[in-house]
Symmetry: C2
Subunit: 294 residues, 2 copies
């Protein structure tokens, strides 16, 4: 579950792609937390201009730190995905010099390693880095049934197997998602991302390699030890529509550990497609709590 860290002063939001940065900004304002958004050009939506903000380009590290400092932001949330930048074409500003050893250290290892290093980098500079769920717990998927429909006993068994797959791979820094139908593991996510994995499930279904009518579940959960402050699994209406297109019966997420920023739209999409959407208990060690299926 999210920790209850209090934000001590103005909140800095380093904004990447998607709706999350603005959703978080609204949640902060609702709590009367002052904020300043630093938007990465080509990644963050123009929408951030509704809030106090500064635009930076990749490499303008000095400009970023000046904006945070000027606005008194000692607390940070880094949110919204970014495309892997083309390091060869980045023009670094003077303030970026101190980041050179850091950037050189990013070349090796899995995603989780890179993201942990990014958090470490900001912490070394004296910032307190929070997850979006620490600031606004309502952005996390909660426990229990979120949709009108719930999983059947058979679907609950599929959820259980998919959770085991994700849990088995977590220590190897792999994926956050798997698809299981009728006891059969259909797909495991690695570098391709959830959307590509769901597309593959849709293709397999067309080829008749999966059996029966609508069946199967998508499970999303964090990797054990995953840096959830900057890399929490997310789910939105588009995930639901793609799961429906892949012929799945529903989606289960690790409660308290998956961001669902567009909550109403996500639940509406599930109900519209007649998919179930459920939050499963998940303890902080990444292990699923015992259920009657264990």
């Amino acid at each position: 579950m999210p920790d209850t860290t209090r934000i001590q002063g103005p909140l800095g939001i380093i904004a990447g792609r998607g709706p999350l940065p603005c959703v978080l900004a609204e949640a902060a304002i609702a709590r009367e937390i002052p904020l300043h958004i630093v938007g990465i050009r080509g990644e963050a939506r123009e929408d951030i201009e509704r809030f106090p903000h500064t635009w930076i380009k990749w490499g303008e590290i000095g400009k970023m730190f000046r904006a945070l400092e000027k606005n008194g932001c000692g607390d940070l949330v880094i949110i919204g995905g970014v495309n892997r930048p083309d390091f060869g074409n980045i023009r670094f500003d003077l303030g970026a010099i101190k980041t050179v050893p850091f950037i050189l250290s990013l070349g090796q290892g899995g995603d989780d390693h890179v993201l942990s290093r990014i958090v470490q980098f900001f912490e070394d500079e004296g910032y307190r880095v929070h997850g979006a769920g620490d600031v606004a717990p309502e952005l996390l998927a909660g426990e229990g049934s979120l949709s009108a429909k719930g999983p059947s006993v058979e679907e609950q068994a599929d959820i259980h197997i998919a959770m085991k797959v994700v849990r088995a791979l977590g220590p190897l820094d792999v994926g956050q998602a798997a698809v299981v139908a009728k006891g059969h593991v259909i797909a495991v996510e690695a570098a391709e991302g959830t959307d590509a994995m769901l597309q593959r499930c849709a293709d397999l279904r067309r080829l008749g390699r999966t059996r029966g009518a609508r069946s199967g579940v998508l499970v999303k959960a964090p990797k054990p030890g995953q840096e959830e402050r900057v890399d929490m699994p997310t789910i939105g209406p588009e995930t639901v529509r793609k799961a429906a297109a892949a012929g799945l019966a529903g989606i289960a997420v690790a409660a308290g550990h998956v961001l669902m920023a567009e909550r109403a739209a996500t639940i509406e999409a599930a109900n519209e497609a007649k998919l179930f959407l459920v939050g499963e208990p998940w303890d902080d060690n990444g292990a699923r709590e015992p259920s009657n299926l264990d």
Copy 2:
């Protein structure tokens, strides 16, 4: 390692797709083992007609048993993949009646479950079912470097991670293969098969989601407890060419547990593409033997 079961009389070969049935028949003839091939129409190559044979259609179970009986085949090898048949369009012969409870039992569970049940079905009828490697150990990939090139230390570390991925998922009846590049797990195989997984790696490379020039390894290994007599992982020249197209540096297989029927062509393809091809020690419990990387 392959067991040394002796074939006691004429060998029955139930033949599915690909070159394996004929390669096995030739290996049996070289050992002066008499044989009879039962080819599944639409699956086995016409090539089997070079050997004593009977063609059957899906559902002609009675005809299959009569052919095996008439030719005195108490020993069986079931070899070559099949497409999942469209059960609704199969016309069962009279001899198939006893298979109805068996077929109804196949609906649930992963591939491994289905294949174990098939072996059980033939054993219940009194047949001795062997793996191709039991009859002809030279069809299995051996230990050590098979290609001119060997893996670098970094590539050896990638092999180690990919072996761990396959090992972690085995108990969940998932996949037999994974791709790892520079410590990063790129892809994990589930229902889509190795070719589709390699295609995905090629796509990810084009999108720039994997880094650097030629790098990464494909690892193929059996699942622990996998029914290796009917479902051993296979590798051939086409696998090598697809791994090269995906920009990988090489391939590692579990020595003694992966079929390499077209041995010369597979090694030639590896040398031509400058890929390494190596057999890694793998014990019978599915665990990799300790190496200096553990």
